[in-house]
Every structure is written in C-alpha cells, then in structure tokens.
Point group: C2
Chain length 373, copies 2
C-alpha cells in the first residue's frame, strides 16, 4: 500500500476534461430488462420532454412489431368488428394533444419501508405532444352494443405475471377504461413530439389516456375489446389496484386518475448550495383532475411557504413548470425543501402518503434534503 500525506497537485482539484462535444438525453436505469428507465428529473428544462429523455416503463420484453404486418382489431360487444392496418390508421383524421404521463409508482423510493416494484425517484414522468386517431373514431365505426360498458386495451407484450395472485402461464398487458372515457379523449397514437413512436414507447401504436396514470396508456396496442361487464384483469386487480372502502368493507379498485402533484427538479437530493445567494428552485406540477393554479415552496421543512411563479400556461392534463427564487441562508446546515400544488377546486397536495395505495399514487409533498455551505 502506497501512502501519501498529500495528493499531488496535478490530480487534486482539476477541471473537467476539455470535451469537444457532449450529447443530450440519457436515462437512469432502474431495471435493465424489461427496460425501466427514469428521466433524470434534475435536467428538466423544456415544456415538452425530449423523446430520448422520456421515461420508459415496461412490464415485459418490448415486442418488435412491424409496420407492414401490424393490425389493430376492435372486437367484442360491437356490431361491426374491425381490423385495420397501420396505413389505414395513418390515413384517418388525426388529432394532436399535449399530455403528461406519470407512472403510478413514480416517487416510490420515498416510501419507508421500501415497497416492491421499480424504485422510481422523481423522473417517471414526462410531458409530450401525442398525435393519433381518437379512439372514439374507431369505436364509432365498430358501433358498441347497447349494453357495452368497458373497453379493454391490449398490448402485444406478454410474459409471466410478476406478482401474486397471478394467473398461470403468460399474460398480455391489458387495461380497461369505462366506455365514457374511451369515447371522450383517448388517442390511438403513432407519433410523439412529431416523430414516429420509438420502440420503447410502443411502436407502432399506443394508447394515450390523458389524465390517467401511465399504466392506462397501453403500448404496442394490437387489440381493443368492448365488454358488457367490468374487466377483472391482472393489471387492475392484483397490480395497479388499491383498497377503497364501501360501508366499512375494503374493496379493490383499479387505479385511474393522476392525483395532484408537484415535484422539485432542482435542487437535487443532497445538492450542496452556496449560502447567502439567490438559488432558482425549479420544478413542475400536474394533475389529472382540475387545473393546477398554485404552487408553494418551503425551504424550512414546512414551517413557512412562499408562492412559486408558473413558467407554463394552464393546459388540461399537461404539466406546468414553476420557478422560485430562494435567498439561501448565510448559515451552513441541512435544510428540507418541499413543494405543494393547489388545484382550481381548492385541493392541495397532502402532507403524507395514503397507505391505501400501498406502493402507488405517491403524490404527497416530497422532502428534498439539501446542504447549505
């Protein structure tokens, strides 16, 4: 073992290497296969999340579908079952919407004790412009029967159920929506920020269900089934479900709407911040319900709160970035920052996690601990 009482000058405090060019994008690996990749949320700097920075949530190995052989069927409780090709879909009248997708487990790393599932921190969320055909267009052509109640969206991705209770053998990734929601604003999308969907985001076609957690926006969508009954698939009973209560009796329900939330992008956890200066606290806020109308920031662990300014206008189901100039304290120490959003109905983010959701819907005020020096 070599010992040294001082590190040589040439290695002690050197500048970053001269770098002729560096790239953009890049994701934090939370699981390598199936791919579960997180947007480094501290890099938030645009309204639309670039495609290459958009978080990836996959339940099974990504299927490799081909444009030429792709078919989307609309079947079940309909008068005119359909099977349409990719080219046919592209020729139908299209619509473009901006929508924020958030994984229902985003923020899970904040839960103590640790819960099973991908250990997302802040960045399993993104905001993009989606282009495609309204699901209503396809449903109206297929003509649901008079007793139709739900629409099941089924992806081409398949595998063993990851948790118990799970059915034997392989299952596909399938989720249902009420017929009302399906006819309202759901998009059968083929483009994201103006380019064809990448494979990780559901190429060639995925659903976009504005206002619902990302699990509803089924990727690699190949089958749409209309049902006269309530769907009881694995991905809304065992997984992506929660315990509601009817007359004191717990009942299992599928997760759906994105709950009101805000998150701090900068500073990062344990960032070291100079004292006695202005620091730009920066983040985003979103909800699947009423519009976000206010964000407050605390820099003293919740004792006092100050209003942040919005960077973006209100657009339903899309996030609004916000910003707050913080005069950092002169005195060194550890501080806890939090942000808190309020919506147009007057509701604010809760202070604590709602345990009925077990490992999902982590939308309470999340503590970001920083070091002032």
């Amino acid at each position: 073992m070599t010992t040294s009482h001082a590190v040589e000058a040439n290695t002690e405090s050197d500048a970053p290497p001269a770098s002729p060019s560096h790239g953009s994008g890049g994701l934090i690996i939370r699981q390598r296969e199936p791919r579960n990749l997180e947007f480094p949320f501290d890099r938030l700097d645009s309204y639309l999340t670039p495609v290459e920075s958009f978080y990836v949530r996959s339940h099974f190995h990504a299927p490799e579908l081909q444009r030429d052989s792709y078919r989307l069927s609309v079947e079940g409780a309909v008068k005119n079952p359909l099977s349409i090709t990719y080219e046919e879909l592209r020729r139908l009248p299209a619509k473009t919407v901006v929508a924020t997708l958030e994984c229902a487990g985003n923020g899970r790393i904040f839960l103590i004790p640790q819960r099973s599932g991908a250990q997302w921190e802040l960045g399993a969320v993104g905001n993009a412009e989606w282009t495609g055909v309204p699901l209503a267009t396809l449903l109206n052509r297929a003509s649901p029967g008079g007793n139709a109640r739900e629409v099941v969206l089924e992806g081409a991705d398949r595998g063993a159920a990851p948790e118990q209770p799970g059915p034997p053998g392989q299952i596909s990734y399938s989720r249902s929506l009420s017929l009302d929601k399906a006819l309202d604003d759901v998009l059968i999308a083929y483009a994201m920020n103006g380019v064809d969907l990448p494979q990780d985001h559901g190429f060639p076609v995925r659903a976009i269900v504005p206002g619902h957690y990302g699990m509803a926006s089924v990727k690699w969508l190949t089958r749409i089934r209309v049902l006269d009954e309530q769907f009881q698939g694995y991905w809304q009973t065992t997984d992506y479900g929660y315990w509601d209560e009817v007359d004191g009796i717990p009942v299992r329900r599928p997760l759906s709407d994105i709950k009101l939330k805000s998150a701090i992008a900068r500073p990062r956890t344990l960032e070291v911040i100079p004292g006695g200066q202005l620091y730009n606290v920066y983040g985003a806020a979103w909800t699947g319900a009423a519009d976000v109308v206010a964000v407050e920031v605390t820099t003293d662990g919740g004792r006092t709160w100050a209003a942040a300014k919005f960077v973006d206008p209100i657009r339903p189901n899309a996030w609004r970035r916000w910003s707050y100039d913080w005069k950092t304290p002169e005195r060194p120490g550890r501080l806890t920052l939090m942000s808190r959003a309020t919506d147009a109905a007057g509701a604010s983010q809760p202070d604590t996690f709602d345990e009925r959701y077990h490992s999902y819907v982590i939308h309470h005020t999340l503590p970001i601990e920083v070091v002032v020096r």
Copy 2:
C-alpha cells in the same frame, strides 16, 4: 380535454431558466432508509470524489454516535485489551492514504434477470483521501496472542438480517479480516478529504480496508475483536459471500478483493450524441490487485478496440481516470460502447459476468448504449 394542433411558441423549445446559481453534489436515491445513495457517475470530473458526492451504502439506520462518549475497544484474543476515546485516537500518529471504495454490488442493474439488493448502476464507487490511525498501531498495543488468526471489525449499526438464512433478532454489521491484512494497511479513519467523517460515512470512526470491496470498510466502528478461529458472521456467509470450489465441491467464501474494472462515465446510457464530431469518452478504472496499466474502448459493440489515455498516475488501490476522443460516425444509429481495463499482471476484464458471485463482483465489460443522431 383541450386539444391543440401545435404547441404555442412560448412553451415549445425554451431555454433553461436563468439560474442565479446552482450547487454541486447531489446523489441518486436507490433506497431512502437505510440510506443507499449513488454518485451520478456521469458527473465524474475530479480525482477525489467530493464528500457530498460520495456514494452511501448503509445496511441499517445510521447510528448517531457522539464524539465525547465514543469508545473503541480492542478485545478478544489479545494480551492487553484496550478501550480508547475519540480524543486518544486523534492524538495517535496518523497516516493519510488515497483509496477507491466500491460497493461489491456496484453495477447490479446490468444483471439479467434482476437480482435482489440495491439496484446500483455505475456510481457505487468513489475515490477519497482517508486519514486515521493504522489498525496495526492499535493491534500492536493490544498484542494479539500466538494463535490469533482473524480480526473482526464491528459497527454500531444494528437491525434484523435482511436475507435468509439469517439469525433471529438483531445483528450488528460485522466483518472479519485476516490478521495479516489487518496488520498491513488497514486504517482506522476519522477524516475524509481532510474533513471529519460525515454521519453517512461512519462518524466518528470507520475502517478503511484498501483494495477490498466497500463492505470491509466497516462504518461507525466501535469494536475490534481478535479471534483464534475463522469468523462465520452473517455478513460473510449469507451475505457478501460467493461460491468457490474445492475439488469439485462448492464452498462458501467471503468476498474480499476489488476485481479489475473500468467504467464509462460519459456518454450516459441512451445519451444522444451528434454524428461526425469528436466526442470525449471519459471514465475511470480501478482494482484491488495489480496496478491498472491500460484501458481500451470499443464504440462498435466489441468488434474493435482503441487505447484510452490515462488522466491520473498509478497509485495502488486508487482509481485512474481515462479519456478517449471518439470520432462519432456520420450515420445515425444505436451503438454500444464498452471499456476494458488491463492490469500489470496482464489480466483483462472478462466479457461476461461470473455467476458464482450471484449478485456481486460485477466487473465484466458493461455495455453503454447510445444514440447517434
């Protein structure tokens, strides 16, 4: 749902907000409690990892020890058992060494299928300057008996064993070393990069075992026990162990030496890189055995390799950063980069993971997938 066929100009591609000042440091949360925090390895830019960026690996809740009441005992198979205070320790002749610590599970996220344990990507590694008293000084004062064989380092952190088979009730974090290693270069450290150890790094006193995976460098060190026999504690039999083989029979052994490894800090996974330009590929290489003498980089998934240049000199048990100027291809596409280190004994990193280690010692060439555009 509001729809829009084009995003308004004021929100489409805006620059990052004017930020009066931003801080340094910041860690990726892999587990919040106990704290397991990863250095964002793509931020590598100094030989010594700043204290606030150094990865944190904790097995139990961090104990809050006080300087005034702190005692370190040296006991067991010794002629003169000791109990020394923090102040006494600080008055003994000190030594300062630079050593790289790497968690034995660093890179676990690259293993398919996923293994249990903290899902480290690249940054459960850091290089720091450690100051303290040689363990040999304390052992020589205590005077081990003639049959002494091992030295057990015990931390003040306690809790239930996380995996099976585990003993009932609470256990402390304890690891043993051979008496030879303990008398060689192990440090009983109280400072890191010239400042007192922070709580997350073992305040007030921890062991530093140069060349061994981080699990050997016991934090919150309060007891040193000399044994006449081989120690069979949980943290080297059930956990932090691997399957060796004797005459065809698998036998359990504790992990020890850091294996030869290199890692790419930049580009990051799925970084988007401009084509037809120079890109500075940058990383570090380290080993607990013979010195690292060469690093090669492939930018075509392993077909061809080119030599990188070292940024740092050789210093045993400390990393060497390296750099390689890559002329990126004109043609867009996805490419896989890897780096491969060679040591002074002529050994190189393997191409594949050695399954005997199950979820540890991930030191093969790790693929970094990037997008050229």
